[in-house]
Each structure stands twice: as structure tokens, then as C-alpha cells.
């Protein structure tokens, strides 16, 4: 029996080509993902381990806890600790790493980053080394983190300007680049590296944030670490332990990537499964007589069943093996070209784990065998007598769709609709998202069940104009409904990808529109000016932020985070709650209550005087805390907009009351700060200039604009007389002003203050939509694989149908249908299939994309990305044409007499 199976396979191998390709692509993606992630992980581990194990012991200060048990910033080691460690008999050499912050100016002379980058100086003994060039040795030399150099465009040999503690510009020569990898302390906001003698002067940092030591000969790393621990009083790790911990935390990233990619792999395999199922179903139908003959000569049902499964196993295994091979190649290419994009050079050689190979083989083979189960069962039902009947397939038009099927399908749609309605009624959170997902799956089941009916119905409608186009169009319409079940299955494979891509594009587009519209509606400004946000108290900077690399699980995204314009407006005032003794940071005035720098009033003045600027709205801000020691009360953010008319210049969604009711003696409160109070109630704000008793004028939605309490400028000035500068300046262009002139005016106003940040709302919108676009194209590319597999499926279905209709084609040719017309007939049929698949997918995608977006985002502005959908339809048509190329060539190339003669 096995021999018969294999002989049959050899004979029909051409029928399996596209199926093999479909399985191969799916397996390739899965195996490729595994190889890629493994390689990435290994090379990261290698680089981390390589750097960490270059020293024997690493000590970092423990984070301190304040009296309330809240974690505070760790206090760096002072010089005496280092001296004591150096004196230890177990330690051969030891040195410390000093860390602070320094304002780096980009090529245009503006401060780099939303926050100043980390500044570090390594000692003689350090786990870091330059990946390019040299570490700085003299006081006019500097090194940059590789990611920072990429973002600023500086290259080795360039002159780099950094502000020192006095805010004076100092020029350095860039001597080297340091790859900090995904080390969160450095990757986040960028990093500059000074020579050790220089950093004190540049940042004011004192003490060591990290100590690196080498053990003496004969002393184990563990002993050296233990000895150092007695001096520092903290846990001290060996280089290897430190490296392992860091690699582990970074492994989380790779793991996320792996899971995300595998998700697409699963989708691809699912689509491949549909394709496999259809192929086997068609092949079994076509081989009825062959199978019947087997039964005639004595094969049992079980043998027929096993024969089909064996066939699927061989096909699946062969295709999977090819897929694994291709996957290794793809994974290698991914690690080679994709790794650097994620800030991780693939230094390790390709890692092909047995798991990757086994998972690839298993998933492909099992999927194939599983997909062939139903066709195999059907094969056992072939009666031996069928062998004696003439041509069973040619006359066999499929029977209609039963009413049970119709009822079941309609029921699925009804349940789905109910779920969507349910998801829109609840609060906007992730629960709604899960309900929508469930609804989408239910609807998909409905499409599967009703597929044949849908195909027939849609073809009937589209067919009316198509029939008029001539005989090829007419025949194509008729052919596409000949086996609606077959057509439906081929089409559904495409529907999966189409639904996902359209759904995602609708969500992405709606989000983008909603956010930009919200911004425009509530904050119709052109520029926003703010001070560079500084998370640390510059006066006693000790470079103590987030020392423990293992603490932060995120990283590797340093590319995005550093750009100045991204977070500015969306995030609102910062939440830091530190106290400061200094009255000035970076030469800027400082908010006493928060320690955050403010925009100098000089800038405000210059801008107000500028003819290019139509309106300057100055947002002053402070935090009031009734009892700073009582952590049960939250500090209340209080802000006031000078020069702005509430409800006109600054708008928001009022839940209760009206924004324009704000006047002296009244206050606007955001929903989350209201604590059950309503319009008309009184809110008391403790303030240095005397407590304010204010009547609540309106409760507004918490969002990008509003946060906490908004009071009238008059009240703000009276209550906080010491606050004279703005946290933010919101600027609107003068009517008719040339955008370029406005830009020049704004930038020249801040020229003296390099750390003051200017954000163009237009630029921000651009950047935002760019980000969304990149995400969209990435995901679309991933889902593209599922589409390609589906197109293979359609092509395969066409090819098998053509094979089945060889005699028909010959008859048509004999009756005078030109080859060209025959090809067109098949193209139209394939395009029709693709269009129906894409059409249903687009419908589902738009519907569920809307439902999902509306379920998570309040006040969603629904937007359908018409261009993307149009492109998608064009792709579907093109895919259909491509899918028909080979089958059509084959049909047109067959000899008429040969086909007519063959029975």
C-alpha cells in the first residue's frame, strides 16, 4: 500500500508544488523567527557577557529607602570606599564609574533629547570599551553612545559641544563610540562619555555609581566580590553574575519580539492549513476513480485512509524540511540586517537550535496531516463501484448549500453582532477588545459556514456586468460558482489576511485621526516652547538614576525615545516630585515646588513682541501638596493659562459645566482630581500667597491638555506670587504669517537658551503619523506572507480546476475560443475569487477595526484609510492575475486533440 501511495505521489508531484510552497513559506517564517531570535539573544548575551566578564567584580550602590519605605535614588560610593577596596588583598585593581548628566547640543546648536543625556566617565578598570575609535583620555575629548551618534549624526573626529555646569559651551573632539547595547541607563536618553578628570567639571557629579574591580592572581572572582562586599556593605556580583542578570533582563525584549513574530507565523500557518485542506479535498475528489479502483482490488477503508494520510505526511514533511532550510537562511538574513536596526549587532554566529528545527518540522508536518484528515475521511467513503462509472468529476456540479448551514451561518453573524454591540456599551478598556476579538472570530466562523452561499450570491451580482464583457467573462462567472465550496475555501484563506490588514489599518488610521483632531480641537497652537525636562536635581547631581541595569526590563528602543518632539505635548507636565535648593537649572528659572526648569520670561517677552507670532499663551504650573509627608494625599497639579481665553483658545470636553465659566474665584477640575465633587462645590487650594477657596466651574475630561486644577491667572498670581515664568508657552502664528518666518522668529527667540525646547505641532503630527505608518507597513509586511500563501492557494485551486476541465478547455478551443480568450477567462475567474476574498476581508476588517478602536479609545473619530484599502484592492486584482498565470498557460497550451481523446 505504501508503495502505491508513493508511486501516486511521484506521478502527481506537480499538483503539490503550490501546496508545498504554501507549507514551506509558513514553516520558513516560524523557523526563521526562532533562528533570528535565538541568534539575537546569543549575540546579545555574548556582548554583555563579554563586557561584564572583562572585570571580575562589579559593585553598585543599593537603592536607598526613605522613611516611608519608598525607593529613592541610590547614593553613590565615595572615594574612601574605592580606596578601601583598592587596599584589599584580594583586589588587584579597582576603579569607579562616575555618572551625571550633561546637555549635548546637536548640529543646530539645540539641546539634544527631551531630557539631557547621561554623562559618564569610566575609570582605568572598566567593563566598557570603545566599539569604534578610542575612549576619551584628555579633557578635550569625548565619546558618544553609538545610538546617540546615530541620532545626532556626529562622526568620529567631529567637534561636539556640551554645556558645563555653568551653562557655558565647551567643545570636544569626538574620539570614539561606545555601544551600550540595551543597557537602560544609557540607551534611554543617550549618553556621552568624558575623561574621568573632566566629568566633575562638566556635570558636577561626585562619587562612583559603579565600581569595577579585578581580582589578584589566585583569588577567585567570588572571593574578590565577597571581600568587596565587606567594604561596600552591598551585594557585590562577579562579572559573570552581573552579565547573566543583564542578559536575562534584555532577553525579555527578544522574547517579546519572538512571540510577536511567532503570532504572524501562526497566522501564516493557519492560512497554509486552509490551502492544504483545499488541495487535498480537490485531489481526493479528482481521484475518486483511482481510489475506487484500489477498493475494487481489495483495499480496506482503513488502508485508503492511511494511504491519504501517508501522502499528506510525506508532502508535509518534505515541505517542512525545505521550510526549515529556508527559515535558517531568513533567520540569518534577519539577524544580519535586522539586528543592527534594533541596536543589537549580531556578533555571535548563527544559532540554529534543535528546537527551531524540530518545531519547524513538527508544525509543518502536523498541520499538513491535520488538514488532510477530513479529505482522507471523505476518501474512505468512495464506493468501489465508482471505478466503473464514467467521469464522475466532469458532470458533478456541487449540490446546493443546505438550510442547516444557512441557519448556522446567520446565527454566527447574529451572535457576532450582539457581541459587537456589547463591546460598545461597556467602559472603554481592554475587556471590550477581547469581546471584539471574540466577535470577529464568530463572524469568521459565519463566513466559513456561509462561504459557498456568499460566493454564489456575490458572483451573481458582480456577474451581471461581467457577463456582458463577452464569452470569457461569462464563462468565468459560471465557472467560479461551479464548486462554490472549493471557491469559498480558496477565498477564505485570503479573507484572513485581508481582514487583519484592513482591521489594523482602520485602527491605526482612526487612532491617528482621533489624536490629531483632539490635539487640534483642544489646543489649536502651532508651536510649544518648554524647558528641557530634567529629571534630576542638577545642583547636587550624583548620577544616581537607575543604576541597576537589571532593574529596567525595557530597552533597545533608544532610537525613538530620544527625539525631542515626541513626548512633549502629549505627556503634559511632568510628575516628578522632588525638592530642590537651587534657583536655577541650566541657566533657566526653576519651579520651586517641583524643581523643574521654566521658560525664561525674556523669551515670552520676545515672542509676544514678534509680529510673526499672533498669540502667546503662557501656561504656569505648580504642584500643591497639603501635607508633603503624608503620602495618602496626592499632590494636586495647579495650572493657569495667561493670555488665553478658556473655551476659545483652550478647549476640552466638559463633563459638567462649561470651560468658559472660568473666572477669578472659580476653578476647572479634571475628572480624576474631582474626587466626587461637582460643579458649585468649593475646592480649597493651599498656597503661599494665602489659601484659595474656589468654586468649581466645570468638571472636564482628563486628557492631554488638562491635568488637575486650572485656575484663573489672577488667582494664580495672587496665590503663587513667586512663580513668574511659564512651564509651557503655547504659540499661535499671526494671521497670514509665512510658516518659515514664524519658525525663524520662534527659534531666534530661544537662541540664547539652547536647552529650551521648541516643538512644532505640525512636525509632531508628522512624526506621529510617520511612526504609525512605519508600524502599519511593518505589520502589513508580516501579514503579507499570509496573503502570499493564500494566493498560492488560489493559484493551486485554479490549477487543479483547470486540470479537471482539460476537456472543456479543449472543446472551447475547438469551438473557436482563442487562446487569449481562454487565458482571460481563467484570469477573470481568479481575480473574481481574489476580489471576493479581499472584499469580505475588507468589510470584516473595517467593521471590527472600528469596533476594536472604539472599544479602547474614547471619543474615537472613525476614519477609513481609503488609499490603503484602494491599494489593497489593487493588490488583490494583481494577485488574482498572478495566480492565474500558470494555470492559464497550461490550459491554453494543452493540445486540443490530445485532450479530446483522453478519457
Amino acid at each position: 500500500m505504501l508503495r502505491t501511495t508513493l508511486a501516486g505521489l511521484r506521478l502527481h508531484v506537480s499538483r503539490y508544488v503550490t501546496t508545498i510552497l504554501a507549507i514551506m513559506l509558513g514553516v520558513m517564517f516560524v523557523a526563521g523567527t526562532l533562528v533570528f531570535a535565538d541568534t539575537l539573544e546569543a549575540s546579545y548575551e555574548k556582548s554583555v557577557m563579554g563586557s561584564a566578564t572583562s572585570v571580575d567584580a562589579i559593585a553598585v550602590p543599593d537603592p536607598v529607602e526613605d522613611e516611608d519605605g519608598f525607593p529613592g535614588d541610590p547614593v553613590p560610593f565615595d572615594q574612601s570606599v574605592l580606596d578601601d577596596i583598592r587596599a584589599l588583598p584580594e583586589v588587584a585593581e579597582a576603579d569607579g564609574l562616575i555618572r551625571g548628566q550633561a546637555v549635548l547640543l546637536d548640529a543646530e546648536g539645540r539641546a539634544f533629547g527631551f531630557t539631557p543625556p547621561t554623562a559618564v566617565a569610566f575609570g582605568e578598570t572598566t567593563r566598557f570599551s570603545a566599539s569604534e575609535g578610542e575612549l576619551p583620555a584628555a579633557d578635550d575629548e569625548i565619546a558618544l553612545a553609538t545610538s546617540t551618534a546615530d541620532q545626532t549624526g556626529f562622526e568620529i573626529g567631529d567637534t561636539v559641544t556640551v554645556l558645563d555646569t555653568e551653562q557655558d559651551k565647551r567643545d570636544f573632539t569626538l574620539t570614539g563610540l561606545v555601544d551600550f547595547g540595551v543597557d537602560t541607563g544609557y540607551a534611554f536618553g543617550g549618553a556621552v562619555v568624558f575623561a574621568q578628570d573632566d566629568i566633575q567639571q562638566m556635570t558636577g557629579a561626585e562619587g562612583y555609581s559603579e565600581l569595577n574591580a579585578l581580582a589578584t592572581d589566585g583569588t577567585s572572582d567570588e572571593d574578590a566580590a565577597a571581600a568587596i562586599a565587606t567594604v561596600t556593605g552591598t551585594d557585590v556580583q562577579t562579572g559573570a553574575q552581573f552579565g547573566e542578570e543583564m542578559a536575562e533582563s534584555a532577553g525579555g525584549d527578544t522574547e517579546m519580539l519572538r512571540v510577536a513574530l511567532l503570532l504572524f507565523g501562526v497566522i501564516a500557518m493557519f492560512v497554509a492549513g486552509i490551502v492544504i485542506y483545499n488541495t487535498f479535498a480537490i485531489l481526493i475528489a479528482q481521484r475518486q476513480r483511482e481510489l475506487a479502483l484500489l477498493r475494487c482490488v481489495g483495499a480496506k477503508r482503513g488502508q485508503v485512509f492511511r494511504s491519504v494520510l501517508t501522502e499528506s505526511f510525506v508532502v508535509g514533511f518534505f515541505a517542512s524540511a525545505l521550510g526549515v532550510l529556508a527559515g535558517v537562511g531568513v533567520g540569518a538574513a534577519g539577524a544580519r540586517f535586522g539586528g543592527p536596526l534594533m541596536g543589537n549587532e549580531a556578533t555571535a554566529s548563527l544559532v540554529v537550535t534543535p528546537t527551531a528545527v524540530i518545531v519547524g518540522l513538527l508544525i509543518g508536518t502536523l498541520m499538513t496531516v491535520f488538514s488532510a484528515l477530513i479529505p482522507a475521511t471523505r476518501a474512505t467513503r468512495v464506493a468501489p463501484l465508482a471505478a466503473l462509472r464514467t467521469s464522475a468529476t466532469a458532470s458533478g456540479l456541487e449540490k446546493g448549500t443546505g438550510w442547516v448551514r444557512a441557519v448556522f451561518g446567520v446565527l454566527a453573524f447574529a451572535v457576532s453582532a450582539a457581541l459587537v454591540a456589547l463591546s460598545q456599551m461597556g467602559p472603554t478598556d481592554t475587556t471590550g477588545l477581547f469581546i471584539v476579538t471574540g466577535a470577529a472570530m464568530t463572524a469568521f466562523v459565519g463566513v466559513v459556514v456561509l462561504g459557498p452561499l456568499l460566493v454564489r450570491g456575490i458572483v451573481r451580482v458582480i456577474g451581471i456586468p461581467l457577463r456582458r464583457t463577452g464569452v470569457p467573462g461569462m464563462l468565468a462567472v459560471d465557472n467560479s460558482t461551479r464548486s462554490p465550496r472549493r471557491a469559498a475555501t480558496a477565498m477564505i484563506a485570503l479573507t484572513v489576511g485581508a481582514t487583519l490588514i484592513t482591521g489594523y489599518s482602520v485602527i491605526s488610521d482612526s487612532f491617528e485621526t482621533t489624536l490629531t483632531e483632539q490635539l487640534e480641537r483642544e489646543f489649536p497652537v502651532d508651536y510649544q516652547v518648554s524647558a528641557q525636562y530634567n529629571p534630576e536635581d542638577q545642583a547636587n547631581t550624583d548620577g544616581s538614576e537607575d543604576d541597576d541595569a537589571a532593574e529596567g526590563a525595557q530597552g533597545g528602543d533608544g532610537l525613538e525615545e530620544g527625539s525631542p518632539n515626541e513626548d512633549g505635548a502629549v505627556e503634559g507636565p511632568a510628575t516628578e516630585d522632588e525638592t530642590t535648593d537651587s534657583a536655577s537649572v541650566d541657566g533657566l528659572p526653576v519651579d520651586e515646588s517641583t524643581g523643574d526648569p521654566l521658560v525664561p520670561s525674556e523669551i515670552e517677552q520676545t515672542l509676544s513682541d514678534s509680529p510673526q507670532v499672533g498669540k502667546v499663551m503662557s501656561e504656569r504650573f505648580t504642584m500643591v501638596d497639603e501635607d508633603p509627608d503624608d503620602f495618602s494625599t496626592m499632590a494636586l497639579p495647579v495650572s493657569a493659562y495667561y493670555g488665553a481665553e478658556m473655551g476659545v483658545d483652550i478647549r476640552g470636553e466638559a463633563i459638567e459645566g462649561d470651560l468658559s465659566d472660568l473666572e477669578p474665584g472659580k476653578v476647572l477640575l479634571t475628572e480624576n482630581s474631582a474626587e466626587g465633587q461637582g460643579v458649585g462645590d468649593t475646592l480649597t487650594i493651599p498656597a503661599p500667597g494665602g489659601d484659595l477657596d474656589l468654586e468649581i466651574a466645570a468638571i472636564v475630561e482628563t486628557n492631554a491638555t488638562f491635568w488637575g486644577a486650572v485656575v484663573d491667572p489672577e488667582d494664580f498670581t495672587a496665590a503663587f506670587p513667586e512663580i513668574q515664568e511659564a512651564r509651557y508657552l503655547h504659540l499661535r502664528s499671526a494671521d497670514g504669517a509665512d510658516p518659515a518666518d514664524v519658525r525663524d522668529a520662534v527659534y531666534s527667540a530661544v537662541e540664547e537658551y539652547p536647552t529650551v525646547q521648541v516643538m512644532s505641532v505640525a512636525e509632531m503630527k508628522n512624526q506621529f503619523s510617520e511612526m504609525m505608518d512605519i508600524a502599519f507597513y511593518t505589520i502589513a509586511a508580516m501579514l503579507g506572507l499570509a496573503i502570499i500563501i493564500a494566493v498560492f492557494g488560489i493559484s493551486n485551486t485554479m490549477a487543479l480546476s483547470v486540470l479537471e476541465r482539460t476537456r472543456e478547455s479543449a472543446l472551447l478551443r475547438a469551438l473557436g475560443l482563442a487562446k487569449r480568450q481562454l487565458r482571460r477567462m481563467l484570469s477573470v475567474e481568479a481575480v473574481l475569487l481574489c476580489m471576493i476574498g479581499a472584499g469580505i476581508g475588507i468589510t470584516l476588517g473595517v467593521l471590527f477595526g472600528w469596533a476594536a478602536a472604539a472599544a479602547v479609545l474614547p471619543g474615537l473619530v472613525f476614519s477609513v484609510p481609503v488609499v490603503q484599502i484602494a491599494v489593497f484592492i489593487a493588490v488583490a486584482i494583481l494577485a488574482g492575475l498572478l495566480a492565474a498565470v500558470l494555470p492559464a498557460r497550461r490550459a491554453a497550451g494543452t493540445s486540443i486533440t490530445g485532450a479530446l481523446a483522453s478519457e
Binding site: 466532469a394 456540479l397 475560443l817 479530446l900
Partner: protein, 254 residues
Amino acid sequence: MSTPAAQSPSPVQAPPVVVARGLTKTYDTGGSQVHALAGVDVDFHRGAFTAIMGPSGSGKSTLMHCLAGLDVATSGTVHLGRTQITGMRDGDLTLLRRDRIGFIFQSFNLLPMLTAEQNILLPSQIARRKVDQERFDHIIDVVGLRDRLGHLPAKLSGGQQQRVAVARALLNAPEVVYADEPTGNLDSRSGAEVLAFLRDSAKDLHQTIVMVTHDPVAASYADRVVFLRDGRLVDEVVDPTAEVVSEHLLKLEA
């Protein structure tokens, strides 16, 4: 060779529609050459119903395919009217078949997804030709398909299916109709009906018909029977009866 010139029914004497001269067809089957046609000279006259007979493998189907432009002859010429069809390109042959030739095959004559009427009209639609409604009605009534026009082929009996094929072949009044074992799959009654239609249409509509068959009874409906053996024309009978044809056949096979 019996060419009784004395009996001279008019159809045979009319001008020839299809003329083949020196027709050969050689197949290469893995080294050895098979001569399916080894030099055939034959004429088919307007309004004549001719049967081509011969034992299995005599080349009768190949002859028909070459005459109809479905297959390419190795050498020799075929003329349809004044047009030489040997040497024509595929595109032109397609047009020729579409506009000037009708076909009836043994089985699988009809497209399963089209109704009887759609099948009959198919060649006209391919050619975007206007249908002569009068002729259509006449033919439909003659073959008795009036109440079956809306049926799919699967709902028709074998005889009805062949009658649809006959109607389709006759509708455009092609210069010649080729029928390849048109009754091979039919019971004798249905077969007799179809053959009667063919004979009548040759007589009444002056339709030239060439039929390949191995059934002497079927051949007896024709005006003339030509016999083929080993790729050569070896015999001919005019106004045949089943008995005469059988005799000739037996002689050939002996």
C-alpha cells in the same frame, strides 16, 4: 476499389468544399515513427453526408482532426473552400473553426455549467455574431429541444445532449460539420434519431457533413462511405447500406 460512376447522386457531384491532397501525419513515439496518415487524397462535396470508416488505429480520427484544423498535418494540404488551412497559424485556425466549421464529438460535447440554449448559442457568442432567430427556431423544432432549452446538460439524456450538440453545430450554417462518433455513446434509438437529423440537414439545408464512425449502421445514413486502413484511403461506397458497409469492413480487417 469500387467507384460506380453509373450511380451519380447529385451531392457527390457538387463542387468540393473540403479537399485534402497528399496528407500525412507522423507521430514520434520514443524513437519509432508511427504513420497515422500515409498520404490521403480525398474530397468532400457540398451538401454531402460522408462517413469515414476503418478499423481501430486506421487513422480516421487523425484524418478528421487534420481536416478540421484541430491537428497539424506533417505534410500535404487541406483546403476549406478556397482557403488553405494547412500552414495556418493557431490564431487564424481558431477563427476558422469558430466561423466556418461545426463540431459534434462523441461525448463531452457540452459545457456543464451552461444551459442547453447557452451551449447552442456559445459559438455565436464567442464570435459575437448575431443569431438568425428563424434558423434557430427551425433547428430547435427539428431536433425537438424546445422544452429543454433551459436545462443544464446534467439534466438531459444522452440523446438529448447529442441533439443539443447537433443543433449547435448546425446553427451557424458552417461550411462543413465534423462529427466524431456522434452516436458512440447512445442507445440505438437515440442514435438513429441523431443520425436522421444529420442526414436530413444535409439534404434539406445542403449542409456538408463529415462523420467518423465504426458503426456500419451509422455509416448507412451517409451518402458515401470512405474506408481507411493504415493511414491510407483504400475503399469507397456510395449510397451504402449497413450490410454493404459491413462486408467492406470485414474485407478490410481480413
